[in-house]
Symmetry: C2
Subunit: 237 residues, 2 copies
DNA sequence: AGCGCACTACGTACGCTGTACGTAACTAGG
DNA sequence: CCTAGTTACGTACAGCGTACGTAGTGCGCT
C-alpha cells in the first residue's frame, strides 16, 4: 500500500483515454507522427516539446496531458516507426528470413536516421516492438533451439545492425559536414590520421589503412557481418 | 585557398599549446579529468560547460579556449578513459587476447556508465583510441587473415560489447528507478508486459518469457555472445 | 629593447530547453 | 444535476550552449 503513484511508469501501461472530462484533441498516433515528421525533416535535436506542440497546433503544456516526460515522446516515436516493419509469412528458411529482417531494419534506420540513436537508450517493449519481436520469433520456428537462444540471436542481430548503421551514419555525417569532395576526403583524413600513422607508432593500423585504398562496399560488409553472426547459431553438423 | 577555417575541425588536429600569449592555466588532461569526475559522480547529463568550468575553478567561457564545442568535450572524456585500457604483450592466442580485451572493455564501461552512450555517437580516432586499436591489432597477429577482416572483427567485438553493456545498464537503470525489490520486479513486469502476453497475441514471446524464470547469468550470456562472434572468424578447417 | 599581436580569461546576454504550477473550460458518473 | 476528474494552456523558472566584447598578458619580430 506504499504510494506507488509517484513512480516513473512506462507510458504503455497508461490508458490512452480515460472517460471523464473533455475528449482529448489528439491521439498518441497524432503526436508520434508529428514528432517523427520533425525528426525526419530537421533532425532529432529539433524535437522539442514546444516544436512538437506547434506542429500539432496546440499549446506546449497541453502535450504533457499525453506524454508525462519527454523521454516518453521518444518512446512514442520509436514505436511509431517500429510499426513500419513489414511482417510477412515466415518462409521456412530462418536464415533467409533473418537476413531479410536485418536488411529491412537497416533500411528503416536509414529512412529515419535518428532511430539508431534512440534505440540504444530505450527499454523497448512498446506494442509495435512486441509485434515485431513475435514476427522475428516466428521466423525462427524452423531453427532447432531453445527460446532463450533464439532471443539471444535476435538481440545480437538487432544490436549489430544498430551499431553498424550508427557507424555508417556517423561517417556519413562527418564527410557531409566537410566542405571537400569525396576524393579529397581521403587526403583530409591523411591530414590528422595520416600524421599519426606516419609517425610510425602504429604500424598495423598503417598497414590496414594502406590496404583498403578504394571505397569500401558497405552492403558487402553488412552482409558478411550478418552471415558471421548467423553462423554462430547454425546447428553443429 | 578557399576559406577552410570555418569548418568543424577534429579537436585532435588542434595543437594543445600555441606559443604566443599567457600560458594556459589547464591542460586538456585536466579538463577531461574534471568532466569525467562529474560524469562518474553525477551522470553524463550533469556535464555542462558551466559545471565543468566550476569544477576546474575557472569562468565558464574560458573553457572555450580549450574546447571549441561541447561535443569536443565529450571527445576528450572518451579519450581520457580510453587511456585506462590495459595494454599487454600479446600472448600468441588471439582468441584469448580478444576475450580479455572484451572483458576489460565491459568492465571499463561499467566503471564509467556514460561511456557506452558516448561511444555510439563519436567518430573515435583519438590518440588513446589509436593506441588501443593498435594493441588490438597486435593481438590479432597470430590470426591468418587480411587486415580488413581483422578490423571487421574488432568492429564487431567492440560493437557487440557496447550494445550489450548498453542493455545491461538500461535494464539496471529501469529496475533501480523502481521502488520495489528485485523479487517484486518480476511481478511488476507482469503488470504491463504480462497483460500483453496474456492476451495470447504473442504466443512465442509468452513461451520465451515463461521459459527463463530464474535470473539470467549476464556473464555467461556475454561469454557466449563473444564466443559466437569469434567463431565466425575462425579459419575454416 | 620595445612594439604589436596572438592568445588567455571571463562577464554579459540571447535564445532555447524541459517542466512545475495555477487557472479556466468541459463532460461523464453518481 | 452536481461535482470530481480531465483537458487545455499561459506564465514562470532554472538551466543549457555559446556569440560577442573587453581587458590583460607575454612571445616573436623588428
Amino acid at each position: 500500500m506504499a504510494g506507488r503513484a509517484a513512480v516513473p511508469e512506462v507510458i504503455w501501461a497508461r490508458r490512452e483515454r480515460t472517460g471523464r472530462g473533455p475528449k482529448p484533441a489528439y491521439t498518441r498516433a497524432d503526436i508520434a507522427a508529428a514528432a517523427v515528421r520533425i525528426a525526419d525533416a530537421e533532425g532529432l535535436d529539433a524535437v522539442s516539446m514546444r516544436h512538437v506542440a506547434a506542429e500539432l497546433g496546440c499549446g506546449t503544456m497541453s502535450l504533457y496531458n499525453y506524454v508525462p516526460r519527454k523521454e516518453d515522446l521518444y518512446e512514442l516515436m520509436v514505436d511509431a516507426v517500429s510499426g513500419e516493419h513489414e511482417l510477412w509469412e515466415p518462409s521456412g528458411d530462418w536464415r533467409a528470413d533473418v537476413m531479410r529482417i536485418a536488411h529491412q531494419t537497416r533500411a528503416l534506420m536509414h529512412r529515419h536516421t535518428w532511430m539508431s540513436r534512440l534505440m540504444s537508450s530505450l527499454y523497448g517493449f512498446s506494442p509495435n516492438a512486441l509485434r515485431y519481436l513475435e514476427h522475428c520469433m516466428a521466423c525462427l520456428d524452423p531453427l532447432e533451439a531453445p527460446h532463450g537462444t533464439k532471443m539471444e540471436l535476435l538481440a545480437m542481430v538487432n544490436g549489430c545492425v544498430t551499431v553498424y548503421v550508427s557507424n555508417e551514419l556517423a561517417v556519413a555525417e562527418r564527410t557531409r559536414s566537410l566542405p571537400w569532395s569525396d576524393e579529397e576526403e581521403q587526403a583530409v583524413r591523411i591530414a590528422y590520421l595520416g600524421s599519426q600513422i606516419a609517425s610510425g607508432a602504429y604500424p598495423r593500423l598503417a598497414a590496414a589503412f594502406m590496404e583498403d585504398a578504394g571505397p569500401i562496399d558497405l552492403e558487402a560488409v553488412f552482409e558478411r557481418m550478418l552471415g558471421r553472426v548467423l553462423d554462430g547459431f547454425e546447428p553443429r553438423a
